[in-house]
């Protein structure tokens, strides 16, 4: 299995970090990897490209908004140069296009582990509340809105503050109508409509990263409490925990939604009633997934095992009390890197050379 070439997307680990880099690190965590780790980036300044020693080769690919045919054509081109055995997309917005080109990828011999259409739809921010209502899963009251009138309505129903979210990314807490309007415009100008507005639940934040196999069986779970947050609510430090209630709730959700592949369940433990409220289901690994390797339940590595066709039994629970702290650092890189990325859209590392840089 360790001789497979694994391609990973989502290399930009900046202020809202993409999970590609920690996924690559997790895979490399289990000892020498003989195959190639291939990074698929979107921009020559995707930071993970410059994290030397992680990726063997980098290729730039078109944004999913350019249409899946272009993505497919580019991957075909890359595959001809460097055989890709396994592909792990790590960004929400990519999922649609990768699901659509899945038959073509498989025909080329590129294996993927992706959710199915209906479960992906069920977890979309605009309809997740329907799902929760149906299965009696606590969830903040939610409105899907298209205009300012929707904001006023939500404020009337939920009071302040309210949470304003895009259908793909971005979430802000608004304490006034004017603030909500600003966030509405800000989000919709980038990610389009509709906008999702939720009541604000106060409480501690918990995440559970889960991995289900091709049959929907949950193979591994890593629950984590957030210890430090960035102003945008991203975990900057966290610790693995062991709470049966949270794990059982996660199992129930994944079972009902028939999930395949990795996902992140985000919860708030409502300080009023002590219940876990499901906030979001992200259809991919979270950016803190390297913690899973540290806690002995390496989910990205396990994902590659599953994708490669190995039969994998559910993993033992992870170690609790393992902490991660995120750390930003500066890397030095030669002009050649940028030259190669901007003119050829690729960067092939010569691993022995790098050691000297």
């Amino acid at each position: 299995m360790k001789n497979l070439n694994v391609a990973i997307t989502g290399l930009h680990a900046a202020d809202s970090p993409a999970p590609g880099v920690p996924v690559a690190r997790s895979i490399l965590h289990e000892g020498k990897w003989e195959g190639k780790i291939i990074g698929l980036g979107y921009d020559s300044f995707d930071t993970g490209i410059y994290d030397k020693g992680l990726f063997d080769e980098i290729y730039l690919i078109p944004y999913p908004s350019e249409g899946e045919f272009n993505v497919l054509a580019r991957i075909r081109q890359i595959h001809q140069k460097t055989k890709i055995d396994v592909l792990i997309p790590t960004l929400d917005a990519e999922l649609n296009s990768f699901m659509r080109i899945r038959p073509e990828l498989e025909e080329m011999g590129i294996k993927v582990l992706l959710p199915n259409d209906s479960s992906l739809k069920m977890r979309s921010k605009a309809v997740l509340s329907n799902f929760c209502e149906k299965y009696d899963i606590p969830f903040p009251r939610t409105k899907v809105i298209f205009d300012y009138a929707g904001i006023s309505q939500a404020i009337e129903d939920f009071g302040f503050p309210i949470v304003v979210k895009g259908s793909f990314y971005d979430a802000y807490i608004a304490y006034s109508y004017n603030e909500a309007v600003i966030y509405f415009n800000k989000i919709s100008s980038v990610w389009g409509l509709p906008i999702v507005v939720q009541e604000m639940i106060k409480g501690e934040e918990y995440d559970v990263c889960c991995l289900s196999d091709f049959h929907g069986k949950v193979i591994g779970k890593v629950p984590m409490r957030k210890l430090r947050l960035t102003p945008k609510g991203k975990a900057w430090a966290g610790v693995t925990i062991l709470d049966k209630e949270l794990l059982e709730l996660s199992d129930k959700i994944l079972e009902r939604i028939h999930w395949n592949g990795p996902c992140e369940l985000e919860f708030l433990k409502n300080e009023k009633n002590g219940k876990y409220y499901l906030i979001e289901i992200n259809p991919r690994f979270p950016a803190w997934i390297y913690l899973s390797a540290g806690a002995g339940t390496n989910l990205p590595y396990t994902a590659v095992r599953i994708i490669s066709g190995e039969h994998v039994e559910p993993l033992a629970p992870c170690k609790s009390g393992v902490i991660f702290v995120r750390h930003a650092t500066d890397m030095i890189c030669p002009l050649d890197y940028l030259e190669s990325l901007t003119t050829k859209g690729e960067l092939i590392f010569n691993k022995s050379e790098e050691k000297e840089l």
Partner: protein
């Protein structure tokens, strides 16, 4: 054909130009991409060739008429000047 008027820069010291058409301007820190013909022209400007020499070389190397090559050459100069490369 008139010669061009440009702010002739010191190509050796101020530019890094790669065979793939990547250009780094050491003075401004800006980066550019040139296509094959753009690169061809810039190299010849660096060699201090005059306009008619450059246009002639273009028509010798590429499948293009002299009129079109000349118009495009002038347009390229305008663009490069606006960017501050020349």
């Amino acid at each position: 054909m008139e010669n061009y008027e440009i702010n002739q820069r010191n190509f050796e010291e101020e530019f890094t130009i790669s065979p793939n058409g990547f250009l780094f301007d050491h003075v401004s820190g800006l980066t550019y991409t040139l296509n094959k013909t753009g690169l061809f022209i810039l190299r010849r400007i660096g060699e201090k060739k005059n306009a008619s020499e450059i246009v002639m070389e273009i028509t010798e190397k590429f499948e293009v008429s002299q009129e079109r090559a000349n118009v495009d050459f002038q347009e390229f100069l305008v663009q490069a000047k606006e960017f501050g490369v020349l």
